[in-house]
Symmetry: C2
Subunit: 724 residues, 2 copies
Amino acid sequence: SSKLPDLGVAAGINLLSAFIFLVAFAVLRFQPVNDRVYYPKWYNKGVRTSKTARRSLSSIVNLNWRVYLHFLNWTREALHMPESELIEHAGLDSAIFLRAYILGLKIFVPLMIMGCLVLIPINATGGSIKSQKFGEVDIGLLAISNVFDKSRRLWAHVVMIYVFTAWVCGMLYIEYKNVMLMRLNFHDAVDRRPEQYTVLVKNIPSDPDEPLTLHVEHFFRVNHPDYYLSHQMVRNANKLAKLLKRLESLENWKIYYKNKQEREPGTQPRTKTGFLGLWGEHVDAVQWYTSAVEQLRREILKERERVMDDPKAVLPVAFVSFKGRWGAAVAAQTQQTKNPTIWLTEWAPEPSDVYWPNLAIPFVELTIRKLLMRIVLFFLVFFFIIPVTFVQSLASLDQISEKLPFLKPIVNTAFISSLIQGYLPGLALKLFLAFLPRILMLMSKIEGYTSLSSLERTAAAKYFIFLVVTVFFGSIFTGAAYTQLNAIIKEPPTKLPTLIGNGVGYKALFFITFIMIDGWAGIAAEILRLKPLIIYHLKNTFLVKTEKDRDKAMDPGSIGLNENLPQIEFYFLVGLVYSVIAPVLIPFIVVFFAFAYLVYRHQIINVYVQEYESAGAFWPHLHGRVIACVILQQICVFGILLSKKATKASPMLILLPVFTITFHLYCKNRFEPAFRKYPLEEAMAKDTRERAMEPNFSVKNYLQATYLPPALQIEEEDEENVIS
Amino acid sequence: SSKLPDLGVAAGINLLSAFIFLVAFAVLRFQPVNDRVYYPKWYNKGVRTSKTARRSLSSIVNLNWRVYLHFLNWTREALHMPESELIEHAGLDSAIFLRAYILGLKIFVPLMIMGCLVLIPINATGGSIKSQKFGEVDIGLLAISNVFDKSRRLWAHVVMIYVFTAWVCGMLYIEYKNVMLMRLNFHDAVDRRPEQYTVLVKNIPSDPDEPLTLHVEHFFRVNHPDYYLSHQMVRNANKLAKLLKRLESLENWKIYYKNKQEREPGTQPRTKTGFLGLWGEHVDAVQWYTSAVEQLRREILKERERVMDDPKAVLPVAFVSFKGRWGAAVAAQTQQTKNPTIWLTEWAPEPSDVYWPNLAIPFVELTIRKLLMRIVLFFLVFFFIIPVTFVQSLASLDQISEKLPFLKPIVNTAFISSLIQGYLPGLALKLFLAFLPRILMLMSKIEGYTSLSSLERTAAAKYFIFLVVTVFFGSIFTGAAYTQLNAIIKEPPTKLPTLIGNGVGYKALFFITFIMIDGWAGIAAEILRLKPLIIYHLKNTFLVKTEKDRDKAMDPGSIGLNENLPQIEFYFLVGLVYSVIAPVLIPFIVVFFAFAYLVYRHQIINVYVQEYESAGAFWPHLHGRVIACVILQQICVFGILLSKKATKASPMLILLPVFTITFHLYCKNRFEPAFRKYPLEEAMAKDTRERAMEPNFSVKNYLQATYLPPALQIEEEDEENVIS
């Protein structure tokens, strides 16, 4: 049932929805009232400001019909900005993230051309599948499945996988080198960043004779006498952060009721004092919330004082600063004491990259947490497979109509049949997956990573495992035969490649559908920003009084590497696996990469805020995953060749993974240290230059109060608010 | 055919040979003429000197019959020396090596007691094997095989493996901690060692503008301005070393013919000039060798000059020394430049630990070499299994007499049957294994490790893999059924534990025999030192003229971690696996550990020279391998329980490996850094103390010419020889 017409219906539906999303986007973004939803970045930068002073119709709706003719001009805008400007505008991480899509295009466009010119003709004339009427052409006709067992044509596939692997490795090498150079140039160009002078020291042992802060100072004065400058103990402001969050919510309610009162001057809005205003005593809402806010502010003041003064609020963690970059580089890369579980030093994350709640987790606990999360991940991956399996089984309609015969007439309608076959499995899967990133991020937080960037990376790693096991292997083994999955572990390992090969062969259509829903329509939905749009307008209606409130109501979001990286990696996997087996799938992948590149470039320029700057620290992660995809590709092709009984051709593939792994190790040794360490030569050169150019520069003043938890940072700007 | 009488014969033979070896040792070592073979260490230390001035009978043979009565007193002597003295006498590595046997005793003595008290009674009354006449008692009667399938008794084994694992982990933790403290104390106590001030810098890039040595100096003067002291370029003295080796051989021949001439004053020994004196022109031997030596010496002088002066002899490797330990610690632990493949720094090995030929291997080549050696190791392990399989198959006599019926009458003799069953398989295996360590050491050398200690460790790691795959799994899967091995990969993975469990159960007797041959008789042969004894006497007769020659003729050897560590680890594996399955095997293991401890303590005190001092750098290696053995034990017991259909009891074991791995990770994080890094606090404390105590101490003078290849080092002492 993998006929081309089914594919046509699915493609039509998805293209239509993508088109609808794009038109909706065009219409919505031209309305001035939505300007803050679609161009928040420019507001944050202060380039755009709202003209809400006069609430005329033209400030809400755009009546100039000419602009609607150019509804696709966002693509030109998105491509217009050169990379150097993009880096300055949106940060290096964003620019490097976009390079992942470029990598996809660089890999898959040539693969597509080679596949179309070489493999598709060879497959199409294979003659194993009986010729059919044009309307019923099976896509298997263009795939390796159309080649006879033991055919000499299979040698073409062997040659092509060698060519493909060489091409992919070449592109990976070039891009890794590019990204490394971009990172090094970035570090060279940016003259001064707080984290260059600072080291995060964890697991500071307590000393019975002196308070922690003195202990830290003494330790570094003794062991880094020429370089130690100052330090900042981390204080436990978690409770304070919670109170501040509650304050924000209370103030929102206060403003809401005040606005209500102003709009209907006669009425006095009332609320109940209980949970969510659902029960309890009836009171005057404005008065009640005003006094509640007042009270909470006093509480916050007290808590803030406690955090600043109470020695018990000091955590055994400090940000230690050094006089120069050389001293910091040394302290970050060396072991401090005999006992390797105390005085642990590492590069301080960039100030905005710090994840404060995790700073104070003791050493032993970290081991246990990591272990626990691994077990949880195992079960999550394992049990998630059950619902997916169920939904997948819908794809074989025969089973449904057998078990539920009353559905037969509906199911047998050609259109509905195509709809279910082509659309539902992918959609259901996508819905399942929507819940997942949050859970995985929470798991990474529990594991205790101390920077947002590492949290996103590790969550992405988990998500990728999940996608490979659940979506890729789950689809391969369940779709073809319902009980196949269970059978795997009962089969001898020698049969596994054949099983995989067979499974992959069957599922080409499913993955094409998946690409269209997730990759085409999904990306188009991303640009529409439906959820932020709704939330913004709700907030704008009920909560916004000042410009500042309106700034707060924008929710531009960020790239979200934890979701997007695994998505890209998954497309690499699907594309690579099918590049030899069924090259007809590759154009869909190419469209995805091109379209996603456009959309994300637009979003990065106009929407997303940059949460932190890790200077592309995620590239080694991506590179490693793509290498894993290449090896999976080789296994799948090996399996297909085995199942095609190509006894002479298939052993030729055994050397490929060995080459690939060697290539990976070489790249890892060659490029990865640039992403992990700060070489002394650079540090020394910068220090020397700094001393020569600015002999009076004071690092101490420069670093003052950089590494303060956000809950303590707002102190100054909010001081008057709280007191008022 | 695993009857107790067979075991008795095998035990008898092995005990007898061990006893013969010990008696021979006693007789031989009391003869003054053998004193240098059995107590070479004391000669090297200058405590003993030979009294060959008067060649009386008593200087050759000991005629005092009383001493022979105390022929076992070496054991008391061996145990007499306290550990602190042992460390001073033979180095920390030796003392820590002996602790490996202590660890074995600490683990297996309690396991033996628990096994005898709990498991053997439970097994013996299991009643699955039919009761037999006493003479035909099967050792399976005392093993888990005597328990009925699905029996409740199997719960005892589950409980015991938890107890055993806890005990083993506890002992491992205590010993790891002990060893770490010994290492730290050693570093604390030893005030000054050249490697504390020195860093090995590899892959120095060439500079077009200045020679390498200036380039190194400039680089470190710029990037470590306050700490850099001096450096020593490594020069390629490989050819020189070869020439020196040839000189030694030529000189030996010269001396041999001179001695011959002196003993028979009339004759003139003659030789031929060709290869090995087998063909070519007839010449006067003494004259010919004298002139050859003369010529070679001149050549060596020239080559030495070339090495010292020729800039092409300078390799891109240097030993860089720093003013203090702190500076060296920093340089060793940090990355120097952007490009992670150049200016690679690492701790300098101790001067005697350096493996000079490997210092100059380029970065890319190292990756390729490692990859190649992994492939070679795979094939070595894989193909070695074929001969072992063949010899193992001899153990099933029925097969032999079936195929070679004319052997039947011989094979059916009870004694010969016992002999073949009990003795041959183990012996053949041992012979095979004798060749292996050299090959593996050669492979490690090809891989490019730069210190003798790391060469031994990596060769040991390969040997352990070999022992586990070839000996352990090879015996398990081939002995029980000849074709079982081939069948494994055709069986579903769910059946694998059962297969292992069954195999392990069958082979208890084989492993007991193996322990007796390899562990008892083999160790007794070690103390006899037959090969060094013969070589010493040959040299003594033909080559020795002076005391110095006699010193050279001693070949005390060293511990040989590359052979002995894997042996110990293998006994841990066998002992742990059988501790639950057939506890009757454990006493044999205990005897091995106790006896080997005695013998090696004796040898370390009296024989072996210390080649280098790595301060127990091999302990993390050993610890990791024992952990692997524990996990293999758990898998085997799990398999046995599965095959005994203990469906409720066996799942209880799934948590064990998780605990074990967590324990291992904790130990790794907690203890391993002490074996890899030099903490800054220590370095600073020592530097400060040194400055206070010896303000005039010059590091530069102290380090002068420490890091010179041995071929260049002998220069001074040999200068006069060469010129003469």
